[in-house]
């Protein structure tokens, strides 16, 4: 957590957030908008219905040059097999095979370098770690000067097309170097909401111009971190530091799908034998509490005899689900969909069911 005495960094859109009436909070060392005057509920629903613009410039962007395949030393994802124009999700692993972070990496068409985006709160550590592990073979260049916007929702493609002609042709997990509102940009058809949408990397100096152009569109509202969290939770997407950390391995986190096929066969990543056995003692699951009371992060999970079998790692209320929802870890025997559990909310057992994720279907443009 960030203490109030620490100097907080600001993204290039700080002044715009204030102008839009945002409530600013410390997050990952930055002063970030948690919500705008519309409020979390409306911002969330608007994103699912039309389009929302998020400032995610706090996230860590970097380029990796040299022997980029060496990135496989720190991730079990298939890096060398990534085709041009594609982006992929990967886990950054410790030497013990636990999760140091999750990140996106992309190979832009006609370019030798890889483009990386890591989490905001972990970026300095990640960059040091990658640079150290790849020392002498590849060079990592952090680009803290760049801004990152996300435009998410069913109207995102239609809106972005007006400012970046042709962009709607891009499909899910593809990435391209293009322009938006006249500014050079790297745009991928990805996001963190479960909705169709884009992530737009631009020079910090162009951020205001691009954000203002997008916000002028009637379909678009600015969306804060509050709704970003409720959207990603409904989409069943993990938040690093909450739903996984360096005490958790990919099997426990139910992220085995992020390990490339070639990598599974070669077992050439940290703790591969243990991870590939895929027989974790505990497992990440989705949970739907009965009734309307949310179970927050840290809530203990009990079996029906009252024995504690796990803990909630993300929990709240899903505006689109119009119901509470949670993610957490339970002993493997309780991880099957439909397993009844109790969530210990304020000392009382709150009945709940293990539920398949996503809670709200993804609407990616595949």
């Amino acid at each position: 957590m960030t203490s109030s005495t620490e100097t907080l960094r600001r993204t290039p859109l700080y002044a715009l957030h204030l102008e839009l009436g945002a409530k600013m909070v410390p997050f990952a060392g930055y002063e970030m908008p948690v919500q705008y005057p519309a409020g979390v509920l409306k911002e969330h629903l608007h994103t699912r219905e039309k389009a929302g613009l998020f400032d995610v410039s706090h996230m860590g962007q970097a380029f990796l040059s040299g022997d980029t395949a060496a990135l496989e030393r720190v991730t079990p994802a298939d890096v060398s097999g990534l085709k041009e124009g594609m982006q992929r999700y990967g886990l950054l692993l410790t030497d013990a095979g636990t999760i140091k972070d999750d990140f996106m990496f992309a190979r832009l068409t006609g370019e030798a370098d890889l483009y990386l985006v890591v989490n905001a709160g972990t970026k300095e550590g990640d960059f040091e770690y990658i640079a150290e592990k790849l020392k002498g073979v590849a060079t990592l260049t952090p680009r803290l000067d760049r801004a990152l916007l996300a435009l998410q929702g069913p109207k995102a493609a239609e809106v972005l097309e007006r400012h970046s002609p042709g962009i709607s042709q891009l499909t899910f997990m593809k990435i391209v170097r293009t322009t938006v509102a006249g500014a050079p940009a790297i745009i991928s058809r990805t996001g963190y909401t479960g909705e169709d949408g884009f992530e737009i990397s631009i020079e910090g100096a162009d951020a205001q111009k691009v954000a203002r152009a997008l916000l002028k569109e009637v379909e678009v509202l600015p969306i804060g971190l509050g709704a970003r969290d409720s959207l990603r939770l409904e989409a069943g997407l993990c938040l690093y530091g909450h739903d996984m950390d360096d005490s958790i391995d990919p099997a426990e986190a139910a992220l085995m799908w992020s390990i490339g096929k070639r990598r599974r066969e070669a077992k050439d990543f940290p703790a591969a034998d243990k991870i590939m056995a895929n027989a974790p003692a505990k497992k990440r699951v989705g949970i739907r509490p009965e009734g309307r009371a949310p179970a927050r992060e840290g809530t203990e999970i009990a079996d029906k005899t009252g024995r504690i079998i796990g803990k909630v790692t993300s929990g709240g209320f899903g505006p689109s689900l119009n119901a509470p929802l949670a993610m957490g870890y339970v002993e493997a025997a309780f991880a099957a969909d439909g397993t009844p559990l109790d969530l210990m909310v304020r000392g009382k057992p709150l009945p709940a069911l293990v539920t398949a994720m996503p809670f709200v279907p993804h609407t990616y443009c595949r």
Binding site: K42, R292, A293, P294
Partner: protein
């Protein structure tokens, strides 16, 4: 004739004869954001001044609601169970939480009146 007092935790309490009604102030409702769930006390529950009496949950977080004065809960606003958004729409009216029979009216008298609460808000 009724009198309304306020706490520094942003609850209001309105006294009508022996019975007091408790809710959260407009300031608190705005600070919480969209309320999605309210846990109300059962009738007959004894509460002490400053003690936890109810819970309000927004999309973001859970917050405790404290009893401004001690007493026994006589009823709760069950309409909030189906329509928790009433807390945002009308926090100092239809969005009330529970009613209390006060055990000691002096506790009520010691709370801030509207003018004092307004001054308190300015100091925040």
């Amino acid at each position: 004739m009724s009198e309304v007092r306020y706490t520094d935790q942003h609850e209001w309490i309105r006294l009508d004869g022996d019975e007091a009604t408790v809710g959260i102030t407009k300031y608190a409702a705005e600070a919480l954001g969209d309320v999605v769930f309210v846990e109300l006390p059962a009738s007959g529950k004894a509460v002490s001044a400053g003690g936890e009496a109810a819970v309000v949950e927004s999309v973001k977080a859970a917050s405790d609601i404290y009893a401004p004065a001690g007493g026994t809960v006589t009823s709760a606003n069950s309409a909030l169970e189906a329509a928790p958004s009433k807390v945002n729409e009308d926090p100092e009216g239809e969005g009330w939480f529970f009613k209390l029979k006060l055990s000691n009216k002096d506790e009520f008298a010691k709370l801030m009146d509207a003018a004092a609460y307004a001054k308190f808000l300015e100091s925040l």
